[in-house]
Symmetry: C2
Subunit: 281 residues, 2 copies
């Protein structure tokens, strides 16, 4: 019966409520690498979970979302998934959770991934790659109250290889075509888009295509994007942004003070976000 | 030390050797759904592994590759991954193995996925989505002796949404651009492409772009593609094809005779493949 007991979701209004309450649109990326966590945690029974637990305790007042990237857990095999399951149980239920999995497969298989993330692990949302088109995305949107966060423009160098290709007989690049076409698959209550912070200047154009959707913005912090530019060009009347920071927060220190440093860093970002919410909202 | 003990790979020559020896280019998709396996197996300690083990025993003489789709295992959480790990240990080492995971993420994260599939689970290859570009694919190609199988043209309806878009100032559609650009990232010894069997007539054009690469062709059988057309238009001088069948073989029966039916079905496909190898090679 576990599937039903832990079915959990967060509406757009609830998410906006959290953002206003905490004066923050920070998402903390739980990209927990066993090779990078403080030495003294390695003695714990489950060092990955222990690290996550302490990071969550340290940052929970300053963020509205947590985003574990599945790769970090899968690279440890079934034990890694156990750590992730425990982490998901530990995250307070009023925090939005994102399975950064970048999945995309045909219908019946997408449905299985959706069950894994939405039901088995009780995530609110999952990142999905658009390459396989509508019938690879709809099975995720079928889950009541759950969210798809579709890759549009990613923050890495390779995003130029295909996402930036100009489409014939259209004024769009591929990523704009992805935004334009996919926004009809869902609505602003169940569909968000990934837009890399390293492309902040493009947010103006992107907001013309998807004015009301939430955008998940990775690439601030270690990857070099500017939080100010993202806020200036990307914010809409409901904020409409979740900005992710992983390494800059969770690895702020690799000593015994890692929790106080993570707390400090997340508070610093939250304060900056608070300013931009006052300025641009 | 497990990572090193189970590092395993298969060269292009070895794969071609297996195809010639078995007179087959069949890949069996281990898309094992707990809801579809025969009732009597549910009493086993690990029903998914028990099913896979018996399917492998029944089909191993007629196929050259096994392709578990990760979704089926991840949907069962950490227990599902345990079943997959046991399955991987059970598959004979002279069979090519494909992690059908359709991953694609930025560099350091792709590297973690690669470690998960190539080292932890000892797969020979993994399917990768191209949307994020070169730096999302190279980390997989960095693994000596391992293979990337890049999605080019998939077999689902939604493939038309983006893969078929015409690129400006180019005579290519997006999937052709993917083939053209990505073939320089690797070589015929470490890079294959997914081309759906439902598009067999397009294989002629695809072979002009990638004449020597192996192609993984899903969509034969339950999805309706023609094995004859795929062989006719897609085969090169080394065969160059792995054709997948999942449901038509593994769910040929859901009674106690599921192994003999799976054996029968895979033998039937192998015999047809044998003919085409004689005709077109």
């Amino acid at each position: 019966m576990r599937l039903f007991l832990c079915y959990k979701f967060m509406t757009r209004q609830e998410l906006i409520g959290q953002i206003k309450k905490k004066n923050s649109f920070l998402c903390v990326g739980l990209d927990t690498d066993i090779k990078k966590i403080p030495q003294h945690l390695l003695k714990a029974k489950d060092p990955v979970f222990e690290f996550n637990k302490q990071i969550i305790d340290a940052t929970v007042d300053y963020c509205v979302a947590y985003k574990p990237n599945l790769a970090f857990y899968e690279s440890l095999g079934s034990k890694g998934l156990e750590s992730l399951e425990k982490t998901m149980e530990y995250i307070p239920k009023d925090i939005f959770t994102i399975a950064d999995a970048k999945r995309g497969d045909i219908g019946n298989t997408s449905n299985l991934y959706a069950r894994a993330f939405f039901e088995h692990m009780a995530f609110d949302s999952v990142t999905v790659a658009p390459y396989m088109g509508e019938d690879s995305v709809l099975p995720f949107l079928d889950f009541n109250g759950k969210w798809v966060i579709l890759l549009a423009l990613t923050s890495n160098k390779g995003s130029a290889d295909f996402q930036d290709l100009q489409i014939e007989k259209s004024s769009s690049k591929l990523y704009e075509e992805v935004l334009r076409k996919s926004k009809s698959w869902g609505n602003i209550e169940n569909l968000m888009f990934v837009v890399g912070a390293t492309k902040a200047e493009k947010l103006k154009e992107i907001r013309k295509i998807v004015p009301d959707h939430f955008l998940l913005v990775p690439g601030v912090g270690a990857q070099g994007g500017s939080l100010k530019d993202v806020s200036k060009f990307g914010m809409n009347k409901d904020c409409g942004l979740l900005v992710n920071s992983s390494r800059a927060i969770i690895y702020a220190s690799n000593g015994k003070d890692f929790t106080s440093k993570a707390k400090e860093e997340s508070m610093k970002v939250q304060q900056e976000m608070g300013e931009y919410l006052n300025t641009y909202l």
